[in-house]
């Protein structure tokens, strides 16, 4: 048996999981399914790409760091890209979601996010065309690490980055006042106000966090696969599946859900056939929902 699918699955799962954190937090705190979340990923990636280009235009060609395919400009660009994606989410909330949320019908907000998703995607196609592009065209040599598994330096770096970000997000949610406030709003927004939590501030924090992680996930896809305007939208269903599988509102759940789906997809490609890729993860999702409708880490509603 070739265990290569484990690495592929973990990588796909990392990207899905990072994206799913934003989906699950938006759902738990703002109480709607944000279909534009995938497009935050794509916008974040293109923003990062644009900043890399801008830095390249200013300082010329920069040598990659050690064995990796990218140099410091990508790291700087990623931070800027996260900030820009956060601003995009805040702007979209200010002009669209917050107004509809005030009317109190979440299905309208969901539909609006669907519209926003299409608009954001079309704008990317308009500006950057739908032709795929890349952060780097350099080819990396995969290193054998035993058990027939090969892994590239970029892949190692991104798996480590995912682990660090997930741990940091979990600590933020459980150990800081901002995180506790986010939990409080997701459990009972009226009581959150009574104890002195500014719900508008919590909503902003949620958008910033979700959008920044979406930008990182998108950039990972960009580094390992390719950059396309549809890259985020194509990951929307796996991200939702991961968020539901893990239990809505749970950060570790979203990541674990992402890894399970990533691994299942990769295993399906290897053992069943590439055409079953999407099907297998949804069969798992349905199976889990039949057995445990609230998801792996979910908690029953009061």
């Amino acid at each position: 048996m070739n265990l290569q699918f484990v690495v592929d699955g973990l990588l796909t799962g990392s990207m899905i999981g990072l994206g799913a954190i934003g989906v699950t937090l938006t759902y738990a705190i703002l109480r709607f399914s944000n279909f534009a979340h995938g497009d935050f990923m794509a916008w974040g990636t293109y923003a990062t790409l644009a900043v890399v280009g801008a830095i390249g235009a200013m300082v010329g060609k920069v040598a990659p760091i050690g064995p990796f395919s990218f140099g410091w400009p990508l790291l700087v660009a990623l931070v800027v890209g996260c900030a820009l994606t956060g601003l995009l989410a805040l702007a979209l909330d200010a002009v669209l979601f917050s107004r509809l949320r005030a009317r109190g019908q979440s299905i309208i907000v969901v539909m609006a996010s669907f519209g926003a998703s299409m608009a954001l995607r079309s704008l990317l196609e308009f500006v950057f065309t739908s032709r795929p592009t890349y952060f780097s065209r350099a080819i990396q040599i995969a290193m054998p690490v035993g058990f027939g598994i090969r892994i590239t330096p970029d892949q190692v770096a991104l798996l480590v980055l995912t682990a660090v970000l997930v741990a940091a997000t979990h600590l933020l949610m459980t150990r800081t006042q901002t995180g506790r406030s986010m939990q409080a709003v997701s459990q009972n927004p009226a009581l959150a106000r009574v104890v002195g939590i500014d719900v508008a501030r919590v909503v902003r924090a949620t958008w910033l966090l979700g959008a920044a992680l979406a930008c990182v996930a998108g950039t990972m896809v960009g580094i390992l696969v390719q950059i396309r305007p549809l890259m985020g939208f194509d990951m929307l269903l796996p991200m939702f599946a991961a968020a539901i599988l893990g239990g809505i509102g749970s950060v570790p759940g979203a990541v674990l859900g992402g890894l399970i789906i990533g691994l299942a997809e990769a295993a399906a490609v290897q053992f069943v056939g590439a055409e079953w890729r999407a099907a297998v993860s949804f069969v798992i999702l349905m199976a889990v929902l039949f057995v445990r409708p609230i998801g792996l880490f979910g908690v029953k509603e009061r």
């Binding site: 459990q187 009581l191 959150a192 106000r193 009574v194 104890v195 002195g196």
Partner: protein
């Protein structure tokens, strides 16, 4: 300052514009008092107290806390103004530990201050210390109420406002909750509460108001009110003409 801790004048409030539930209610709470608001079902007691706490839109009237106008201050700023509210139900965060519930409420304090106050709450309510790592949703009804009150007291409010603290509790727990409130008052906290359970509330209260059809219909000393025929009549929901007896 020597004025009343809370003064409410002609409060008109309701969820929808043009449909007031509270129709010109006025009350006053002096420093160190326990004041009880009673009334038949649908009298607007709960809306009245929520309007004071900034949770129901106010369309007319005034709410003064220690002389400061807090009418229509957003609910999340009320604790900073010195008014802590304990809702009737769902007054804890069920999935968070007892400790995190208290920390969440301490969010408006300096970190060091919050730690000290939480420690003091654990001294006052040893049960809560025992269950500090337990998810609050797993506490018993009485412990939940204790947590909700502790959470409100952490900010050392000028006024503690409670919406039916006895709701859904067994008679034994009702007695426990009311004796807890009596102790809290002894510690110097001013309390305003709305209650369905008139007998228990009047037993610890200093003064009481009877709210009928969205305005105060009667005011009196708590210990005398229980035997007051006017109150009995109002309280049974009979349509007596509201007499504005004790109002100055």
């Amino acid at each position: 300052m020597s004025g009343p801790v809370l003064q409410v004048d002609g409060l008109v409030a309701g969820y929808e514009p043009g449909v007031p539930i509270v129709r010109g209610a006025s009350i006053r709470v002096e420093r160190g008092e326990i004041v009880v608001v009673l009334g038949p079902n649908g009298a607007g007691k709960s809306s009245f107290i929520k309007a004071i706490a900034g949770l129901v839109p106010v369309s007319a009237g005034k709410v003064l806390l220690d002389g400061t106008d807090i009418t229509a201050v957003p609910a999340h700023r009320m604790v900073r103004m010195g008014l802590a509210f304990v809702p009737q139900t769902e007054n804890i965060f069920p999935l968070m530990s007892v400790d995190d519930n208290l920390k969440t409420a301490g969010g408006i304090l300096k970190a060091k201050e919050a730690v000290e106050r939480i420690a003091r709450m654990y001294d006052t309510f040893p049960d809560l210390r025992t269950f500090r790592r337990t998810a609050a949703g797993n506490l018993s009804g009485g412990q939940r109420q204790m947590l909700a009150v502790a959470r409100a007291l952490i900010v050392e409010p000028k006024l503690l406002v409670l919406d039916e603290p006895s709701a859904g509790l067994s008679p034994k727990l009702v007695a426990m909750v009311f004796s807890m409130l009596a102790d809290i008052r002894k510690a110097g906290v001013t309390i305003l509460l709305v209650e369905q359970n008139a007998k228990a509330a009047l037993a610890i209260g200093d003064r009481a108001y009877v709210l009928v059809e969205g305005r105060e219909a009667h005011e009196g000393v708590a210990s005398e009110l229980w035997n007051d025929p006017v109150v009995a009549e109002l309280y049974l929901g009979q349509r007596a003409q509201p007499s504005r007896g004790g109002e100055a």
